[in-house]
Symmetry: C2
Subunit: 473 residues, 2 copies
Amino acid sequence: VDDPKNILAFPLPPPTKVPAKVLDVDKKTPDAHVPRDPRLIRLTGVHPFNVEAPLSDLYNEGFLTSPELFYVRNHGAVPVVRDEDIPNWELTVEGLVEYPIKLTLKELVADYEQVTCPITLVCAGNRRKEQNQVRKTKGFSWGAAGVSTALFTGTFMSELIKRARPTRRARYVCMEGADKLPNGFYGTSVKLNWVMDPNRGIMLAHKMNGEMLRPDHGQPLRAVIPGQIGGRSVKWLKKIIITDQPSDNWYHIYDNRVLPTSVSPDEAAANPAWWKDERYAIYDLSTNSAIAYPAHDEQLCVIGAPENYRVKGYAYGGGGRRVTRVEVSIDKGKTWRLSKIDYAEDKYRDAGPRELFGGTVDMTWRESSFCWCFWTCDVPVRELRDAKDILVRAMDESMNIQPRDMYWSVLGMMNNPWYRIAINQENDYLRFEHPTQPALIPGGWMERVKKAGGNLLNGYWGERIDGEEPEVP
Amino acid sequence: VDDPKNILAFPLPPPTKVPAKVLDVDKKTPDAHVPRDPRLIRLTGVHPFNVEAPLSDLYNEGFLTSPELFYVRNHGAVPVVRDEDIPNWELTVEGLVEYPIKLTLKELVADYEQVTCPITLVCAGNRRKEQNQVRKTKGFSWGAAGVSTALFTGTFMSELIKRARPTRRARYVCMEGADKLPNGFYGTSVKLNWVMDPNRGIMLAHKMNGEMLRPDHGQPLRAVIPGQIGGRSVKWLKKIIITDQPSDNWYHIYDNRVLPTSVSPDEAAANPAWWKDERYAIYDLSTNSAIAYPAHDEQLCVIGAPENYRVKGYAYGGGGRRVTRVEVSIDKGKTWRLSKIDYAEDKYRDAGPRELFGGTVDMTWRESSFCWCFWTCDVPVRELRDAKDILVRAMDESMNIQPRDMYWSVLGMMNNPWYRIAINQENDYLRFEHPTQPALIPGGWMERVKKAGGNLLNGYWGERIDGEEPEVP
């Protein structure tokens, strides 16, 4: 920490207000020990706790999300961990290793090099509400705020595994949490070669934005698997098991998969082979983006409006691949305009090695990108007046681009078609309409179009194509 | 080579017939020293030599392509290399290294471990003819056969670079060939950390399918960069230069880029900044697929036809990411059926370490996939009779899927929308029509639809949407 100016060159966490109070709704649940922020939108009733922030609140936080607004995906009750037991939290490394390890969190922090890194986590279900509008999936209705970013501090998982010395047959790293669920403890796996690859930056984290992990985020220890879906970043981590096969944990097999779109819910239920085909397991995130502003139901008075409206939002890629362009269309995808992209993650890269929150920020050597970026696109208001919608799509460095079409699958995962906001012209106002609202909240053009009998999968968002008659039934 | 049965478990190269004769067309060109196969389709007139095989011929070769049908992308004349000079071909490693290296091909083969690997190369322009039908790009008209696979033998580039000891500032590996062109020698670069990553398998190859490289494929030495566009695999390789910046070679800057679709040819010509933005440079291939059968103009008599028609083709992913599903639609993308995939590359993986063509095949430890796969999908002929088209799309392990929409850009690169074959019902026959034919060869539904005034970018291949009126002009 030589030069405070340099420190300020990269974003520090936004002001945080640690929730001090257990909310009334939580008092009668197994999570009665967990204080929470009331702004979070609950997606699965009261319990278990699965939440996202309102999209505008999330975006307004900026690059880093405060832990109280960071999305949460809990499969069951949050394990009770007393403060005094935290230093003695035990983690094991076992399975196909020459030297099995059992160590406490205290030892992990003391004996291993600590690093701090900004990492975006995204739930595989982000934007699933849109899929549920088309046809009910087995998953609950995430809006577009199932994504958040924090500075995680901890050790590279590879350091621990190196000391345990995997045997020749070792291929997978299975992880198991302390959250006891109907089908056993939550667990999953990733490939050993990914864990050992420094460019993938797979971590064991005990801090988030400089403070101890909060209970909903895995206190006191979690895996953080950058560039991959949140479901691989096991919280309340207890066990690392090196194996020659992917995890056989129930949650690894029956969750976080994109089965072929032709597999119906009945077929998926009848035939377990679909679930055991590792080709359909999700690891890397796919390229995605969403519009934060205009917000849902935001109104723009065109009388006396400024010349331009600044459309804004986020985008992210998967597997460390960087978003290289974000494009906006206001003519249904006929033409696209280029957005400006702000990759705040680069500011940490440029800052050079330095200490932060008890870990070294050292990303100068790493060329992968594991965080979301923010983009803006100034659109003349006079053009918006004539437009029916605003579309956005991102492309990553591998030239993978968000598609027009939704890929519907049984679990409803990895939804990443162009994000579309409809524009409703109401007298002197433009009223903007997002595709959906999270959870059971009504609203959004998808609901409206569906009610009007539109086919949401016709390639034109179920709306009638200009100058063309509706489809003959 | 213990067990001949095991050797036969993976595909060996198809029968090859080394062209012995210089073709008449080549006799008056600077390539008058290069014997060639007359079946190859020339895409840029007679010279320079840019060719693909007829798609059916390519597919019929099977997993491995014989060198005489392997696609060729030459920017200029093929360097003349006399047989007796081959062992003394010199390669240097220079730039940001502690120990610059100069060595001959003979030394490279003698002093470094040799490996043999099946690798698919793909030109970034594969399927560009489709883009040229929409709007002329600056690139020539590849059909869907700008892709081929061979067994390459050589050394890992990382081995050589390790001995040269890159300095701390080293970030890029620039390569330069012996082909002298109007704007200097052909050259480009990739990231140093990719070259050093064993999972990426970047090679210096001197053999192809067990024989010395042929002149069109870089004799006597070339780079082979698996999972990336062919333009990075520099042929007739003379120099490796380690740098802290991407290559400043003219061909690196002004070729192999996907500029934003909003950048017009005029804008691209007027503003060099577009070309120097490394975000738009192409490295990884994008997910792609094409249908080989039915072939263009193939006819199927529906009277007495077998119950099913077997639709067949190829698919590939980029950056080592595996194709995990290939889906076929005969109802314009409303529903999709799953194809069977044959990943012949896995047979080498499963075979375990063994010698082949003077190098070790050892892919057991490597989990990346660098070859195309073949897929088949049986479709009932009675359903084909009612269908207007056959569509195919592939998805890779990162859930990146081929989109419905074409991404047009100035250079016309990385074209990967759903591959579509139109079905023409002609009396008792179905006549199948590919989107285009390569080079200036007429034919294909795109040409036909365009002539009829259809908008090829309307999301429905320019055809009228069932039951809907044409767009009001």
